[in-house]
C-alpha cells in the first residue's frame, strides 16, 4: 500500500467514525428520552458481552451464526441479488440438521450428515427464490422474505408434528445424541468447534471471490450483468449458484446452532440472526473478511442486550435492534459522503 492510498484509507476511516458517532449521538438521545443514561447502557453492554470469560465465549457463540449468515448475505448482495431470506434458510437448515441428527444413521455419520443436511436444506430454500426470480421474474426481495414466514410456521409445525419428541410433551424435538453434537472448544463455556468452521469458511468465501473463476463470475454479474453476458459468463447459472451457496451458508448456520448450541430443535431459537446478517454484511462492506469483526460486533450486542435490560430498568434488549438500524443509517450516510467526495475529486482524465 503506497502513502497516498494509506492516507486515503485513514481519511475514509475518520469519515466513517464521524458518521458512526453521529448515529450513536442520535441513539444516545433516544436512550435519554426513555430516561436512562447512555453511558451506563454502554457499560452494561460491554459487561454483558466481555465481562467474564464465560460471557466472552457466549459472545463468540452468538457470533458464529451471524458470521455465517453475514457471509451468505454478502455473497448474494455482491451478485446484486437481494436475498434477504437468510433467516428462513437458517431455520430450514436447523430442521434438516435435527432430522438427520436424530435419524438412525451410524453414529460417526450423524454429525457430518446433520451439517450437510442443514446446508442442503438452506440451499434448496434459497433456490426456490432463485428459480422464481429466473423463471418467473419474481423479485427475490419479496419471495425470500415470504419464505422466511413460511419457514417460521414450518418450524412451529415440525416441533409439534414430524420432529416432535417421543414423549409429545413439549413443542420440541428429541435431543441429539452425543455423536451428533459439535465438540466444545473450551470446557466450562458454550464455545463449540463450529466457531472454527465458521472462521474457516469466511476465509474460504474470501478466497472464492478473490481467486476463483466462479467468484470472478459472481462479482462481474453483480457489477454489470450485461457486460458479463456479453463476455460469455453464464449469468443465469452464476445467479442460481449464488442463491444456492448463500442458502447453504445460512442453512449451515442453522445446523451449527442445533448441533453446537441447542442440541435440540425448538421454536424461536433464532433472535433474527438472518435479519441481523443484513446489517453485518453491509457494515462489512460485503467483504468476507470484514464480516468477521462485523459479526463479532453484533454478536457482542446480542449477548450484551439482555444484560442492559437486567441492569437498567426501562431499557430493553431491543435497544440492540435500534443500534443496528443506527449503524446502518450511519453507514448509508457515510457511503453518500464518499460518493460525493469521489465525484468532486473527479476521476483520472
Amino acid at each position: 500500500m503506497n502513502a497516498r492510498s494509506a492516507a486515503e484509507t485513514l481519511r475514509s476511516a475518520g469519515l466513517l467514525a464521524v458518521c458512526l458517532s453521529g448515529g450513536l449521538f442520535a441513539l444516545a438521545l433516544v436512550i435519554l428520552l426513555v430516561g436512562a443514561s447512555p453511558l451506563s447502557v454502554a457499560a452494561a453492554l460491554w459487561q454483558g458481552a466481555f465481562g467474564s470469560p464465560y460471557n466472552a465465549a457466549d459472545t463468540l457463540v452468538q457470533t458464529v451464526p451471524l458470521l455465517l449468515t453475514g457471509l451468505a448475505v454478502a455473497l448474494s448482495f455482491r451478485c446484486q441479488l437481494f436475498n434477504i431470506g437468510a433467516e428462513g434458510q437458517l431455520l430450514v437448515g436447523a430442521m434438516a440438521a435435527t432430522w438427520a441428527g436424530t435419524s438412525p444413521l451410524p453414529a460417526p455419520l450423524l454429525l457430518p450428515m446433520a451439517l450437510l443436511a442443514g446446508a442442503g436444506a438452506g440451499a434448496l430454500w434459497s433456490g426456490i427464490a432463485g428459480l422464481l426470480r429466473l423463471y418467473r421474474g419474481v423479485q427475490e426481495v419479496l419471495s425470500s422474505l415470504l419464505l422466511n414466514f413460511v419457514a417460521i410456521q414450518m418450524l412451529a409445525w415440525m416441533v409439534r408434528g414430524p420432529l416432535q419428541e417421543a414423549e409429545k410433551a413439549f413443542p420440541q424435538s428429541d435431543p441429539l445424541l452425543i455423536p451428533a453434537r459439535l465438540s466444545l472448544l473450551i470446557p466450562g463455556t458454550r464455545l463449540h468447534s463450529g466457531a472454527v468452521l465458521a472462521l474457516l469458511l469466511a476465509v474460504v468465501v474470501w478466497a472464492y471471490l478473490r481467486w476463483t473463476v466462479g467468484g470472478f463470475a459472481l462479482r462481474v454479474v453483480g457489477a454489470g450483468p450485461a457486460a458479463a453476458e456479453a463476455a460469455g459468463i453464464p449469468v443465469r447459472r452464476t445467479m442460481i449458484e449464488t442463491f444456492l451457496l448463500s442458502g447453504a451458508l445460512s442453512g449451515l448456520a442453522g445446523a451449527i446452532q442445533v448441533t453446537g448450541v441447542l442440541y435440540r430443535l425448538s421454536e424461536g431459537f433464532s433472535p433474527g440472526y438472518g435479519y441481523t446478517a443484513i446489517a453485518v454484511a453491509l457494515i462489512a462492506n460485503l467483504s468476507p473478511l470484514s464480516v468477521i469483526p462485523s459479526a463479532l460486533f453484533f454478536g457482542a450486542l446480542t449477548t450484551g442486550g439482555p444484560a442492559v435490560q437486567q441492569s437498567i430498568p426501562g431499557v430493553s434488549s431491543v435497544v440492540v435492534q435500534v443500534l443496528q438500524a443506527v449503524a446502518l443509517f450511519s453507514l448509508l450516510a457515510y457511503a453518500r459522503v464518499r460518493e460525493r467526495q469521489s465525484q468532486t475529486a473527479g476521476g483520472v482524465r
Binding site: 419479496l142 422474505l145 419464505l147 413460511v150 414450518m154 426501562g314 435492534q321 443500534l323 438500524a325 448509508l332
Partner: protein
C-alpha cells in the same frame, strides 16, 4: 352454508383487509412515482404502537389514529431522506427502516409499559355497525372510500399523470416542469401516513392491544398486493380482500376445528398464497420502468 355465515365472513374480511389496503394504496403511489418502499412493515408497526399509545393516553381512539399517521409519517421522512435525498439503495433503506421500527417500537413499548408486563387498556375504534367479529369500523370504511379517491387522483388528474410519468420516465416529467424528487418525497410521506392508518386499524381496530412485531409480515404482503393488483387502487382492493379472506378463512377453519391440520400450516396459508400469486403473475407483470432508480434533477 347459510347467508349469515357468508355475510359474517365477508365483513370480517373487510376488516382484516383494511391494513393491507391502506399500506398498499400508499405503495401504489410510491411505486408509480418510482419508489419501492420495503419499509411498509416497519411503518405499519410504528403506526400500530402510536395508535395504542394515543388512544390509551388521551382516551380517544381517534386521537390514536392521528398519532399513528404522524408517527409513521415521521419515520417515512427518514426513508425519504436516505432513499431520495441521499440517493441510497431503496431496498437497503427500506430494510433498515424495518430494523429501526422493530427496535424502536419494542423499546418504546417496553419503556411505556414498564417491561412489557403491564397491559394498558386502550379504547378501540367504535364499530359503525355489526358487533364482535363482524363489526366494521370507521377506519375500514375510510380504507374502502380511499380506493375510488386514489383511482381518481391517479387516473383523472394532472397530478396523477405526472406521478405515473415520474415512475416511468422521470426525465420526461422533469422536462414537463415536475420536481421529481419532491413528488417522490410526497408519495413517500403519504405512504407513511397511510401505513400509520393501516397500523392503527390493526392495533385499535382488529386487535385492542400492541404486541411486538404484531404486523407479522403484513407490510410485505401489502407489497405483493400492489404487484398482484397491477399497481392500481382497485386492483389493490381486490388483492387485499383476497389475502384477508385467506387470513380469515384460516382463522375460522382453525377455530371450528374442521380439519385435523395443525394450525401452523394454516398460518402459512397467506404467505404461500402470496408466493403463488407472485409466481402466477410473475413475468407477465410490468412494474414502473424507473422503479428503484434515483433521479438527479438538473
Amino acid at each position: 352454508m347459510n347467508t349469515a355465515l357468508i355475510l359474517a365472513f365477508a365483513l370480517q374480511s373487510l376488516t382484516y383487509g383494511a391494513p393491507f389496503l391502506f399500506a398498499a394504496l400508499g405503495e401504489v403511489f410510491s411505486e408509480r412515482s418510482g419508489v419501492i418502499n420495503i419499509g411498509l412493515e416497519g411503518l405499519m408497526l410504528v403506526g400500530a404502537l402510536a395508535a395504542i399509545m394515543g388512544s390509551a393516553i388521551t382516551g380517544d381512539p381517534m386521537i390514536g389514529v392521528v398519532w399513528a399517521m404522524l408517527a409513521a409519517t415521521v419515520v417515512s421522512a427518514l426513508f425519504a431522506l436516505f432513499a431520495i435525498g441521499l440517493k441510497r439503495d431503496q431496498v437497503i433503506v427500506g430494510t433498515t427502516v424495518n430494523f429501526l421500527a422493530l427496535g424502536l417500537t419494542g423499546m418504546v413499548y417496553r419503556a411505556w409499559t414498564g417491561g412489557g408486563g403491564r397491559v394498558i387498556p386502550a379504547k378501540t375504534i367504535p364499530a359503525l355497525f355489526g358487533n364482535g367479529g363482524t363489526a366494521v369500523n370507521a377506519l375500514t370504511l375510510l380504507a374502502l372510500l380511499l380506493v375510488p379517491v386514489a383511482h381518481g387522483l391517479l387516473f383523472r388528474t394532472r397530478f396523477g399523470v405526472t406521478i405515473r410519468a415520474t415512475g416511468e420516465v422521470p426525465a420526461a416529467a422533469a422536462a414537463a416542469g415536475a420536481r421529481v424528487n419532491v413528488l417522490r418525497t410526497l408519495t413517500t410521506l403519504a405512504t407513511g401516513a397511510l401505513c400509520g392508518l393501516g397500523g392503527a386499524s390493526l392495533s385499535i381496530g382488529i386487535a385492542s392491544t400492541f404486541t411486538e412485531g404484531m404486523t407479522s409480515g403484513r407490510g410485505f404482503i401489502a407489497l405483493a398486493v400492489v404487484v398482484f393488483g397491477r399497481w392500481t387502487p382497485f386492483g389493490a382492493l381486490a388483492a387485499s380482500l383476497l389475502f384477508a379472506a385467506a387470513d380469515v378463512a384460516q382463522a375460522r377453519l382453525q377455530a371450528a376445528g374442521w380439519f385435523s391440520v395443525p394450525y401452523p400450516l394454516f398460518l402459512m396459508v397467506p404467505y404461500v398464497l402470496t408466493l403463488v400469486a407472485l409466481t402466477v403473475r410473475g413475468a407477465r407483470v410490468q412494474s414502473p420502468a424507473a422503479l428503484g432508480q434515483s433521479f438527479e434533477q438538473g
